[in-house]
């Protein structure tokens, strides 16, 4: 039977390296991707991932299972570190549309080579979406990344952010509105509904 995160954390506290490795391999990818999407920098994503698990080594006892999942706990640590990194290295985030986009370009080996036109369009879409996400203010960006890219529920995202679910919903709506605006201006999405008003979520 696969051990739960809580069981593994108890073993980690006792110095079980195998348990720590299991937890690391179970969660590192999503933490890395979260940091990558939030920062647009692989270097920051690596630093953040490393820092998150070093914090876990030091403060595994701080995790309270009654307050949420371990992944939520790790996301919370990651978010704090990303924001700190962004504050420190503001120039890292390529907000402008005319940036070269090298740091967020997809790896060539991951792209199917069937149809060059499709690949080009796909790559353009990926680039546009990621640039649009990076252009969001951080209070919307983290909600969008958590709910849309990491597929957390509103409740889980609220636990990570320490905000009410309603705030998460409203920020997600506002974030989507900003993303659409950005993608419209880059021509990736039609402008028929331009000006559609956002409505506050009461979920």
């Amino acid at each position: 039977m696969t051990p739960t995160d809580v069981e593994l954390l108890q073993q980690i506290t006792a110095g079980d390296e195998l348990a720590f490795t299991t937890v690391y391999r179970r969660h590192q990818a999503r933490i890395y991707k979260f940091a990558l999407l939030m920062s647009g920098s692989a270097a920051i994503a690596e630093d953040v991932t490393q820092e998150v698990f070093i914090v876990l080594i030091r403060e595994a006892g701080r995790y309270d299972a009654s307050r949420g999942s371990l992944s939520g706990f790790l996301y919370g640590i990651a978010r704090n570190h990303v924001l700190r990194c962004l504050e420190r290295d503001r120039s890292y985030v390529p907000i402008a549309d005319d940036s070269d986009g090298q740091s967020i370009a997809p790896l060539p080996e991951l792209i199917a080579q069937c149809d060059p036109l499709d690949d080009l369009a796909r790559n353009e879409m990926i680039k546009s979406v990621r640039q649009a996400v990076l252009a969001l203010p951080t209070r919307y960006r983290d909600v969008v990344v958590l709910c849309d890219f990491q597929e957390l529920s509103y409740v889980e995202a609220a636990q990570v952010l320490g905000r009410p679910v309603g705030t998460v919903c409203s920020r997600l709506h506002r974030g989507h509105a900003l993303l659409l605006e950005k993608l419209r201006s880059s021509g990736k999405i039609g402008s028929e509904t331009h000006g559609a008003r956002s409505v506050r979520c009461f979920a």
Binding site: E17, L36, Q50, I57, I126, V129, H176, T193, S198
Partner: protein, 260 residues
């Protein structure tokens, strides 16, 4: 469903998240009737499609192995460090113990010997010496030899030490020729008396290099045993223990041993 209600669920609808009850069916029905909401849903679906494209693109992304190596190294260091603290503490304590405890014990013993010598010298040396001799069973038969020597140097500072020497030891036993020979000679002349080995005192140097010396028997508070790192009964705190102190020819105490 109204447009306002549709707006509340459009993100979930576009992202294909499950909606409560038949919310999805109602929302889709509303979108068919409302062009604005239909376009809104189309736009959100386009955005969701773009997001999924990115998600798929990042599916294989993960932290490089160097990160795993780094955190595992940190884990090992932390837990090795935690256990190392305990492991290192004992040897460290053991290493430190002789560094400060033996000199402290030696200093304490020397101070007591000095005080005892002064008291003997200024008070009733003969009576004290007689008591010491009686307790130890050591003979004072050779006292005249030392008495003569002492009387000659009565005005000198060494006189008090000489008096103690003369009362404590026979002339033969007073000569100290290295720790082994001292033990072998059984200075106390009492076969029932057991002694510890000689402990070098602070500044005593190498006892093996000591060619000759004199041994003086003294009485000390039992607490010096603890100070010297020896087992002692705490109930006998107020009691005294007997010890033999080796004095070199320069008059410095070099070593001590205790009688059991």
């Amino acid at each position: 469903m109204k447009c306002r209600d549709f707006e509340l669920v459009v993100l979930s609808l576009a992202a294909r998240r499950p909606l409560e009850g038949d919310g999805a069916r109602q929302a889709l029905a509303h979108a068919e009737d409302c062009r604005h909401c239909d376009l809104r849903l189309t736009e959100e679906r386009a955005l969701a499609s773009g997001i999924w494209t990115v998600v798929r693109d990042l599916a294989a992304e993960e932290a490089p192995p160097s990160v795993e190596n780094a955190v595992l190294a940190a884990f090992r260091e932390r837990h090795a460090g935690a256990s190392g603290c305990i492991a290192r503490s004992l040897p460290g304590w053991k290493r430190q113990r002789p560094r400060w405890m033996l000199p402290a014990a030696a200093a304490l013993i020397l101070a007591m010997i000095s005080v005892a010598a002064i008291l003997h010298h200024s008070g009733h040396p003969d009576r004290e010496l007689d008591t010491s001799i009686a307790r130890s069973g050591a003979s004072g038969a050779q006292e005249p030899e030392f008495g003569q020597a002492n009387s000659q140097s009565a005005s000198k500072p060494e006189r008090s030490v000489a008096s103690i020497r003369s009362g404590s030891m026979t002339s033969k036993d007073q000569r100290y020729v290295g720790p082994r020979s001292t033990t072998r000679r059984n200075l106390t002349n009492n076969p029932a008396e057991a002694t510890t080995d000689f402990f070098p005192l602070m500044g005593g140097g190498d006892l093996d290099s000591l060619e000759s010396g004199e041994v003086v028997r003294v009485e000390l508070p039992a607490s010096v045993l603890l100070a010297a790192g020896l087992a002692a009964n705490l109930d006998t705190e107020g009691e005294t223990v007997r010890a033999d102190v080796v004095f070199a020819q320069d008059g410095l105490a070099r070593a001590i041993r205790f009688l059991r």
